[in-house]
């Protein structure tokens, strides 16, 4: 369904001269530097998959989505979506994909939702019966009825997002690209949108590529995740595999009987230390929890200890902060199913 090979995008960032004369000079000479936004990324997505495309701000998530949707022309590498090359066959590709950007609406600001939809029906030439049926289904699933005749500019963020997602699906696309679809929404609104995406995926076999900061989205929706950081692909595989891979790191919190000056323990890093409370990070491959506690007990007196498995949010954060760890682990034949 989607094939991406060695896809790269670099941007020239220009230095702009200001003013009347400056704008004229800009035409002829401009200083620039090159920013690598996506660097040799490759992956494939099969029909009916939901893939979480994750990464911190500025990692290159949106740039990738924009190349898949035909908004940006890649600097090198190849992309096909549904067999179309998005930037060359932009219009053909556009007929078969749906796109939602959480940060801005694709609807017409001053038109009521209903009229925006009707305009899309004309633009995509959606047959009347198909259009009616879709509107009916989406109206019910997303509760569009309350604001169907309200101009888009007057909608709340949650309403707007629901309208935008429905709008992106009116023409029955095969692939749905969602860029931060739950950004800024409350818990209820998020849950409703997730349910809807899930349902569209199972009932209509719509392939979904989703970028998000919200790891709840990922846990609820995606079996598979792709991690990207600093323009490069860092991980591509099952969410459970990622968790297993990263879960090898654990946290041990210890409350000492007193504040010892030196609490360092071999094979464990101190994550934080505050008075008598110390948190260690350790890897069970290097030292078992029992041995670690044993070592500590030999040296110090303790009041309480607890072991935590870091939640996925923390894990991914560590991946971003310390890419080497993950790369090292990926190099080992630890999880052959990746």
């Amino acid at each position: 369904m989607i094939e991406v090979n060695d896809l790269s995008k670099d941007f020239k960032v220009y230095h702009h001269r200001k003013g009347f004369f400056g704008s004229f000079v800009n035409l002829f000479s401009r200083k620039h530097r090159i920013v690598q936004a996506v660097d040799k990324v490759s992956f494939t997505v099969a029909r009916g998959e939901i893939v979480g495309y994750l990464g911190p701000n500025g990692a290159g998530k949106s740039t990738t989505i924009k190349m898949l949707t035909g908004i940006l022309v890649p600097s090198s590498g190849s992309v096909t979506v549904n067999g179309y090359i998005p930037h060359r066959q932009r219009k053909e590709n556009a007929k078969h994909i749906g796109v939602v950007f959480g940060q801005r609406s694709h609807l017409w600001f001053d038109l009521p939702v209903q009229e925006s939809f009707e305009l899309l029906q004309r633009i995509y030439r959606i047959p009347e019966a198909e259009y009616r049926q879709n509107v009916e289904v989406f109206e019910e699933l997303l509760n569009l009825g309350d604001f169907f005749r309200t101009p888009v500019r007057q909608l709340s963020l949650g309403q707007r997002m629901r309208a935008d997602i429905a709008a992106a699906l009116l023409h029955n696309p095969d692939v749905l690209f969602l860029d931060e679809p739950t950004i800024g929404l409350d818990v209820v609104a998020k849950a409703r949108i997730r349910q809807f995406i899930q349902r569209i995926n199972t009932e209509r076999q719509v392939t979904v590529v989703l970028t998000t900061h919200d790891l709840d989205d990922v846990e609820k929706l995606c079996k598979r995740v792709i991690l990207i950081d600093n323009a490069r692909l860092r991980f591509d595989g099952e969410l459970t595999a990622l968790r297993r891979l990263l879960s090898t790191e654990r946290l041990l919190s210890v409350d000492y009987a007193e504040a010892y000056p030196d609490v360092s323990i071999p094979n464990a890093d101190i994550v934080y230390q505050e008075g008598a409370r110390v948190q260690y990070r350790f890897s069970p491959e290097e030292i078992s929890a029992a041995d670690l506690i044993g070592t500590i007990l030999k040296k110090f007196r303790i009041v309480d200890v607890s072991i935590q498995e870091p939640d996925i949010e923390d894990l991914i954060k560590t991946v971003y902060e310390d890419n080497l760890t993950l790369e090292r682990k990926l190099a080992e034949p630890l999880s052959p199913d990746i």
Binding site: F11, H16, V73
Partner: protein
């Protein structure tokens, strides 16, 4: 057909949303018309003192003024999408255009329609009609057709300028202000007979930026002034097509520019 009916639908929606604020709409309609009345009044004052300008009477100049005024106002009305394109790039709205299964040029064109320019069109038309009533032009079907083609060509010429400014946004984000020399400046220059300008200036605005081709030469032909100036009659008859050609070239420039669109944010 799909494109045409969709365009008309877009225009209908635009007009409706602009009519929503009826009072402000009407006030602006009249404000625009009266501003350009003052414009022509200045030219008339000039003639009050000099009577003639390079062999042109006041009403002949009025004819020129009316023609160029109509072209520019119509271009502003229907070519608004390109004229105000900068905000599309700044806000990132061009992304939306790129995800739709329609051409980018078509969508930018269809997206905007500035109805209140009717005020200016009406004012320029009135000047043209009054000028005509004071002159003794022998109108024939050919001449009426020629005038209409010239007006369309002139409109295309100005839209072409807007397209150049809009395309430059793909690189500079901000629209290049120099283009105003040619748009607003063009209206001003085109309101006077080109024979008053210097050699290099006349040639630049004939062959590079074909302003004279869509306004001055057609007026020469219509007012029967060709013979007096020794300009080639065939050249004059073909001149108005320069506007269409100019727009065509700017459309190619646009296509090339779209490939350089960088979007906003990464």
């Amino acid at each position: 057909m799909h494109h045409l009916s969709l365009y008309l639908h877009f225009v209908k929606l635009r007009i409706r949303s602009q009519m929503e604020y009826r009072l402000s709409f009407i006030v602006e309609l009249f404000a625009q018309a009266s501003i350009s009345v003052i414009d022509f009044f200045m030219i008339a004052l000039l003639f009050n003192r000099f009577k003639q300008l390079a062999g042109w009477s006041l009403w002949e100049v009025g004819f020129l003024y009316g023609m160029i005024g109509i072209c520019f106002a119509v271009a502003e009305m229907i070519g608004r999408g390109f004229d105000a394109f900068e905000k599309n790039i700044v806000r990132g709205d061009f992304d939306t255009i790129l995800i739709r299964p329609l051409g980018t040029f078509y969508q930018v064109f269809a997206n905007e329609f500035l109805l209140r320019r009717l005020g200016r069109i009406a004012q320029a038309l009135v000047v043209l009609l009054i000028a005509n009533s004071q002159l003794s032009v022998q109108w024939s079907l050919t001449k009426v057709g020629y005038l209409l083609i010239s007006l369309m060509s002139g409109t295309c010429f100005f839209i072409g300028l807007f397209v150049i400014a809009a395309t430059s946004c793909f690189w500079t984000v901000q629209s290049i202000e120099v283009i105003n020399i040619f748009t607003h400046g063009g209206v001003f220059m085109g309101s006077y007979p080109f024979s008053i300008y210097r050699w290099w200036f006349r040639h630049f605005f004939t062959f590079i930026v074909p302003l004279a081709c869509v306004n001055y030469f057609p007026a020469l032909f219509l007012l029967g002034k060709i013979e007096s100036l020794g300009v080639s009659p065939i050249g004059v008859q073909l001149a108005p097509f320069a506007g269409f050609l100019f727009l065509g070239i700017t459309m190619l420039f646009w296509r090339w520019g779209v490939l350089h669109y960088q979007s906003t944010g990464h």
